[in-house]
C-alpha cells in the first residue's frame, strides 16, 4: 500500500509541477507578447513622427524657395529706392539753390517777375516728373506685392501645419488642397502643369494637419511618378455621403502586381534611401481613423488615380455650405 501511495504522490507532484511550469511559461510568453506589442506601438508612433518630420523638411524646403524670390526683389528694391531718393534730394538741392539766386534780385522789377513765372512751373515739373520718383513708385508697388506674397505664404503655412490648433474641426477640403499644392510647388513648378477642378463641397470633420499630410504625400508621389513633364489634375466633389478628392497624374503608373500591396507598411518601389515605404501606409491609416477611405487605379505607362473619400459632416451640412471661391 505504501508503495502505491508513494507512486500516486509522486505522480501528483509531477502533474502539479508540470501545470505550474507550463503556467509560468504561459505567463512569460504573455509578458513577452505584451512587451512586443508595446514595442510595436512605440515604433509605430516613431514612424508617424519621422514621417511628420519628413513632411516638415519638405515644407521648409518648399517655403524657403517660395519666400526667397519675393525677399530678393524686396531687399533690392528697398536699397535702390533709398539711392533714388538720395538722388532726388540732390535735385531738390539744385532747385533750391536756383531759387536762392532770387534773393539778390529786386522782385519788384517786371523782368524778375517774368523770369520767376517761367522758372517756377519748370522747377515743379522737374521735381514731380523726376524719373527717379516714377521708378521708386514702381519699385515700391512691387515691394508691397512682395510683402503680400510672403504674407499669403505664411498664412498658408500656418493653415497647413495647424501649429496653433489640434484636434478635430469642421473643415473645407479645398483649403487643404490649396495649401498642400503651395507647399509642394517647388517640386511641381519646373515641369508639372496643375489643373484644379474644385467643386463646392460640404464640410468634413477632421484633423486638418493630418489630412494635409495625406494630400502632400499624394501630390509628392504624383510628382515623383512623372519623371519628365506631366499633368496633375486635382478634383474635389460630393459623392453621396462622402466628399471625394481625386489626384490624377500622367506618370509611370503602378503595375497591377504592385497595386494590392501599395498600402502595406514598408512596401516600396523606390531605390534604397529614397523612400521609406511608409508614406502610403500612413495615408491609409490616417484615412481609416477618420472613417474615410482611399482607392487607387492605374494604367501602367499612362498614370495613376488616387481617390480619397471622407464622410460628410451632417451637423455642418444643415447650416453651412462653403463655396470654392471662399478659399482663394
Amino acid at each position: 500500500m505504501n508503495w502505491l501511495l508513494v507512486i500516486l504522490l509522486s505522480l501528483t507532484i509531477a502533474a502539479l509541477s508540470w501545470c505550474w511550469l507550463s503556467r509560468a511559461k504561459l505567463l512569460k510568453e504573455n509578458l513577452a507578447a505584451s512587451e512586443e506589442l508595446k514595442r510595436m506601438q512605440t515604433s509605430q508612433s516613431q514612424v508617424m513622427h519621422t514621417n511628420k518630420l519628413a513632411s516638415l523638411g519638405q515644407m521648409v524646403a518648399g517655403v524657403t524657395h517660395e519666400i526667397n524670390t519675393p525677399l530678393g526683389f524686396l531687399r533690392s528694391n528697398a536699397q535702390v529706392v533709398t539711392e533714388l531718393l538720395d538722388e532726388h534730394v540732390q535735385l531738390i538741392g539744385k532747385v533750391a539753390s536756383a531759387l536762392a539766386k532770387f534773393e539778390q534780385v529786386d522782385l519788384s522789377m517786371p523782368q524778375a517777375q517774368e523770369a520767376l513765372k517761367r522758372l517756377l512751373p519748370k522747377m515743379q515739373a522737374a521735381l514731380t516728373n523726376d524719373e527717379r520718383i516714377v521708378e521708386s513708385r514702381e519699385l515700391l508697388t512691387d515691394a508691397l506685392e512682395g510683402v503680400d506674397q510672403i504674407s499669403a505664404l505664411v498664412k498658408n503655412l500656418k493653415g497647413f501645419a495647424r501649429v496653433d490648433r489640434d484636434g478635430q474641426e469642421l473643415w473645407n477640403v479645398n483649403e487643404g488642397i490649396e495649401s498642400a499644392l503651395m507647399i509642394a510647388n517647388h517640386q511641381l513648378k519646373d515641369r508639372i502643369d496643375v489643373i484644379k477642378n474644385l467643386e463646392t463641397v460640404p464640410l468634413v470633420r477632421v484633423m486638418p494637419s493630418q489630412i494635409n499630410q495625406v494630400f502632400l504625400n499624394l501630390i509628392t508621389n504624383a510628382a515623383q511618378a512623372m519623371h519628365e513633364r506631366g499633368t496633375l489634375t486635382v478634383s474635389s466633389r460630393r459623392n453621396g455621403e462622402s466628399v471625394e478628392i481625386e489626384f490624377l497624374d500622367t506618370g509611370s503608373g503602378i503595375p497591377s502586381t504592385v497595386l494590392p500591396k501599395i498600402f502595406d507598411p514598408f512596401f516600396t518601389t523606390k531605390p534604397v534611401g529614397e523612400g521609406t515605404g511608409l508614406g502610403l501606409s500612413i495615408v491609409h491609416k490616417i484615412l481609416t481613423s477618420h472613417q474615410g477611405d482611399i482607392k487607387v487605379d492605374s494604367t501602367p505607362g499612362r498614370g495613376a488615380r488616387f481617390t480619397v473619400s471622407l464622410p460628410v459632416d451632417h451637423a455642418a451640412l444643415k447650416s453651412h455650405s462653403v463655396s470654392t471661391r471662399d478659399v482663394a
Partner: protein
C-alpha cells in the same frame, strides 16, 4: 568701365527682372522670361554678363547657361537662385561652368561688384578655344603634368589608383605638408581632393591654391549632400569638376582627362587665367586653420608657376 555693361537677366518672376533693371540702371540691361529669346539675345546684343534664375517653367537655368556658353562664350555666367538643391549646383559646375552662384535674396553691393568684375573679364580677357586639344598634345600633357590626390581614406586612394593609375602619374598626399612637398617638386596638372574628411576641411587649401595658382584645375569629391559647401567651392574655389561618391570610373576618367587638357591650354595661354579668378573666402575671414598657419601660405604663394607665355 567707360562703356555701359551689357547685362542679360532671365527670370520667370517679372518683379525680379524689374528689380535687377533698377539695380543696374546705369548700364544696358535686357530682361526676359523667355529662354529662347535669351539665347537669341545673348549673341545678337553681344552680352557681357548673364544673370539667370535656376528654376523656370520652360527650362532650368543651368541648361540655358550651357547653351548660351556655346553661342556667346565670352559672356560671364551667373546663376541666381532661391533654393539651391545639390543637383543644380553640380550641373552649374560640371555643365554650365558658372562664374558665380548667387543666392536670393542677394546683396546689392556684392552683386554690383560681381557683375562689374565679370564684365571687365568678359571684355578684356580672351576665351579659351572650345576645340579639344589634339591627341599628341594630350599625350604631352600626361607626360609633363601629374595628378595629385589629397586624400586620407585608403579605400578612396586605392579606388583612384585603380581608375587613374594606368593613364596618369598619380601621387598621393594624406596631409597638407605632403601635398605641398609634391606641388613644389612636381609639375601638377590637376588636384583631386575630397571636400571633407575625418582629418578636417580640405576646401581651405583648395581655395588658397586656386587663388594663387588658377591654372591648376581641381576636381572635388564629395559624399555629402551639402549644397552650401559646393556653392562656396564654386565662388571661392572655381572648382573645375565635382564628383559624388562612390566615384564612378567613367565620369572620373572623363573629368581628369578634361581637367588635364584644361591645364595644358591654360599653361600655354596664361592670358586667359583671369576668367578663373575667385572671390576671397568669406567664412575664414583671414584666419587660417592651424594646420595651414606654419608658413604653408607663403609656400603656396612661392610655388613655381610653370607657365608658358606671359600673363595678361
Amino acid at each position: 568701365m567707360a562703356d555701359k555693361i551689357r547685362i542679360l537677366c532671365i527670370d520667370d518672376e517679372a518683379r525680379i527682372l524689374r528689380a535687377l533693371k533698377a539695380l543696374f540702371r546705369e548700364h544696358e540691361v535686357h530682361t526676359t522670361s523667355d529662354p529662347k529669346l535669351a539665347l537669341l539675345w545673348a549673341k545678337s546684343k553681344d552680352i557681357d554678363v548673364i544673370v539667370c534664375d535656376q528654376r523656370m517653367p520652360q527650362m532650368l537655368g543651368v541648361e540655358l547657361l550651357r547653351e548660351i556658353k556655346l553661342v556667346q562664350p565670352r559672356a560671364m555666367r551667373l546663376l541666381l537662385t532661391g533654393y539651391s538643391d545639390l543637383n543644380a549646383v553640380l550641373a552649374s559646375v560640371n555643365e554650365s561652368e558658372v562664374f558665380r552662384f548667387i543666392n536670393k535674396p542677394w546683396d546689392n553691393t556684392e552683386l554690383r561688384h560681381i557683375v562689374t568684375q565679370a564684365a571687365s573679364i568678359a571684355r578684356d580677357v580672351p576665351t579659351l578655344s572650345t576645340a579639344p586639344i589634339s591627341e599628341s598634345e594630350k599625350e604631352q600633357a600626361r607626360q609633363t603634368a601629374s595628378v595629385l590626390v589629397i586624400e586620407d581614406d585608403p579605400d578612396t586612394q586605392n579606388r583612384l589608383r585603380e581608375i587613374l593609375g594606368t593613364h596618369y602619374t598619380v601621387r598621393f598626399a594624406n596631409n597638407a605638408e605632403r601635398a605641398m612637398q609634391l606641388l613644389e617638386q612636381h609639375e601638377t596638372g590637376v588636384v583631386i581632393s575630397e571636400a571633407e574628411t575625418t582629418a578636417g576641411d580640405w576646401t581651405t587649401l583648395i581655395k588658397l591654391l586656386k587663388q594663387y595658382h588658377p591654372q591648376i584645375p581641381t576636381v572635388v569629391i564629395t559624399d555629402r549632400a551639402n549644397a552650401q559647401l559646393a556653392i562656396d567651392l564654386i565662388n571661392e574655389g572655381q572648382v573645375y569638376r565635382m564628383l559624388i561618391k562612390p566615384v564612378r570610373m567613367g565620369t572620373c576618367r572623363l573629368s581628369v582627362e578634361s581637367a588635364i587638357g584644361h591645364y595644358w591650354q591654360l599653361k600655354k595661354n596664361p592670358n586667359v587665367l583671369r576668367r578663373y579668378s575667385v572671390s576671397p573666402p568669406k567664412n575664414s575671414g583671414g584666419i587660417l586653420p592651424a594646420w595651414l598657419s606654419s608658413g604653408l601660405l607663403e609656400r603656396i604663394k612661392k610655388l613655381p608657376r610653370r607657365l608658358l607665355g606671359s600673363m595678361a
